[in-house]
């Protein structure tokens, strides 16, 4: 199962837990698995069939360029980070 790091702004959904294990072969499947365990998780991360623009998903240190379709491995690390507008 992938290891998922939960940003502080979403930890109200996970009873304060920062690191979780979740099954799934894509970022979308991982989110769906977390939504089953922590209802409301998907709504906070997604808008329709895409990750919300204010968030960026990372898989093994790389941005998930395929969004919800980004492949996730058994040993992958997944992070969801708030996007910031730099200058």
């Amino acid at each position: 199962m992938a290891t998922v790091w939960i940003p502080s702004l979403l930890r109200d959904l996970t009873a304060g837990r920062q690191v979780l294990d979740a099954p799934g072969r894509t970022v979308g499947q991982v989110i769906d698995a977390l939504d089953r365990a922590y209802p409301g998780f998907r709504d906070r991360l997604c808008e329709g069939n895409r990750i919300r623009p204010i968030l960026t998903a990372y898989v093994d240190g790389r941005t998930a360029q395929l969004g919800l379709l980004e492949p996730v491995g058994e040993q992958s690390e997944v992070q969801f980070l708030p996007a910031v507008a730099g200058g």
Partner: protein, 384 residues
């Protein structure tokens, strides 16, 4: 949060670097040595879960420690020296470029990135290097949105890095197409054609060679114009660290801070155009000094904004800031063709922390808000 240089990081660093300074003082340790002892390295996990890779924070701290500024005498009363150390992660994302080969051997480089910091030059330099041409053979133009593929903002410390990847990809496309033309001219397999520093050759016949300029002049007789395309979405990037050293003098009667000397050290990756990199470091540090000492909204008792225009909203000028010394630590980022890291945002992060720590050493008073105005400094000193 709106667009800003290293958004959110500067005030957080101001608070954090004051705490780090207090910890070092508490155990009687040199503030840079304390940071060096606790510095993130490759493999260190960040608080958000991401793992640092290909970073050079330790090299930055060692260079700051070794810099003559750090051990120079302060030379007078009411003076103090402070340091701060900071990180910013930068960005990659989408960039588009095209390179068209002209009949005279020049190339027209069309860029999706808007040029706000001289990136036309740093991107043209990367195109010239990738094509094995002289810089004056590359004619860069910033395209409008109808003329080029999608390109992310010219911000986020991404332009020279991510658009550089795009430019290199366009150059590789040009070279591949021109190799095919050379193969056609020589009636040899394209796989046998190679290109090195302006000259095409084939392993099929050692006598066959043709220069880029000469082949460019034959494009219309060998199939027509060539345009290389570089549309990329860069998934990884190299963050950078900055260590700043600040000397200040604080007038004990007025609370006015004079910045006497300022040095910025940063791991900049490969400095494609060192002058532009220095400019980013000096500009970022100056903006950070403004945030530290001057920039803030003032309201009267009825909530009326008292400084709504740039006539009243103080920003630093050349009269307020010394010539900022820069130290470029060139630690190439291994996942960029030329080792580029974004450099523009990191230098705004350390200045308030460095200045607050310098003010503490000059006055014995810790600062707990920005900007550190003369009034606030006198309040913290217990003068008013």
């Amino acid at each position: 949060m709106g667009p800003y240089r290293a958004p959110g990081s500067t005030p957080a660093s101001f608070a954090g670097e004051a705490v780090v300074d207090e910890l070092a003082e508490k155990i009687g340790m040199d503030p840079l040595a304390f940071r060096l002892k606790n510095c993130a390295q490759d493999g260190t996990r960040r608080i958000v879960g991401a793992v640092h890779r290909d970073i050079a924070g330790i090299d930055v701290l060692k260079a700051a420690q070794a810099h003559e500024h750090y051990s120079a005498p302060l030379g007078g009363p009411n003076r103090g020296r402070g340091v701060a150390f900071a990180y910013w992660g930068n960005w990659g994302a989408e960039s588009s470029s095209t390179i068209s080969v002209n009949g005279d051997g020049t190339v027209s480089l069309l860029l999706g990135s808007v040029d706000i910091t001289g990136t036309r030059t740093s991107l043209a330099m990367q195109a010239a290097e990738a094509l094995g041409l002289a810089l004056d053979q590359v004619k860069p133009t910033v395209a409008d949105t109808d003329a080029i593929g999608y390109t992310q903002v010219s911000a986020g410390s991404r332009t020279t890095m991510a658009s550089g990847v795009s430019v290199v990809k366009a150059a590789e496309d040009v070279i591949a197409q021109m190799c095919a033309r050379a193969a056609m001219l020589w009636s040899v397999p394209v796989e046998s054609v190679s290109y090195d520093q302006g000259t095409f050759a084939t392993s099929a016949r050692a006598t066959e060679r043709i220069g880029f300029v000469e082949l460019a002049g034959q494009l219309n007789q060998t199939g027509g114009p060539i345009t290389g395309v570089g549309n990329v979405n860069v998934p990884e990037w190299g963050g950078t660290f900055g260590a700043h050293i600040a000397d200040v003098e604080v007038d004990p009667e007025t609370g006015k801070v004079t910045v006497l000397r300022y040095t910025a050290v940063q791991d900049v990756g490969t400095a494609i155009h060192p002058g532009q990199v220095e400019g980013q470091m000096q500009g970022g540090a100056t903006q950070g000094i403004g945030w530290a000492l001057y920039e803030g909204y003032a309201y009267d008792d009825e909530g009326q904004l008292l400084n709504p225009t740039l006539l009243d909203y103080k920003q630093p000028t050349a009269l307020d800031v010394p010539s900022i010394e820069t130290v470029l630590i060139e630690d190439p980022y291994p996942k960029h063709p030329f080792g580029v890291r974004g450099v523009g945002e990191t230098p705004i992060v350390p200045p308030p922390g460095a200045l607050a720590n310098a003010i503490y050493r000059a006055t014995g008073a810790r600062m707990d808000e920005l900007p550190m105005t003369p009034t606030h400094i006198l309040e913290q000193m217990g003068v008013i």
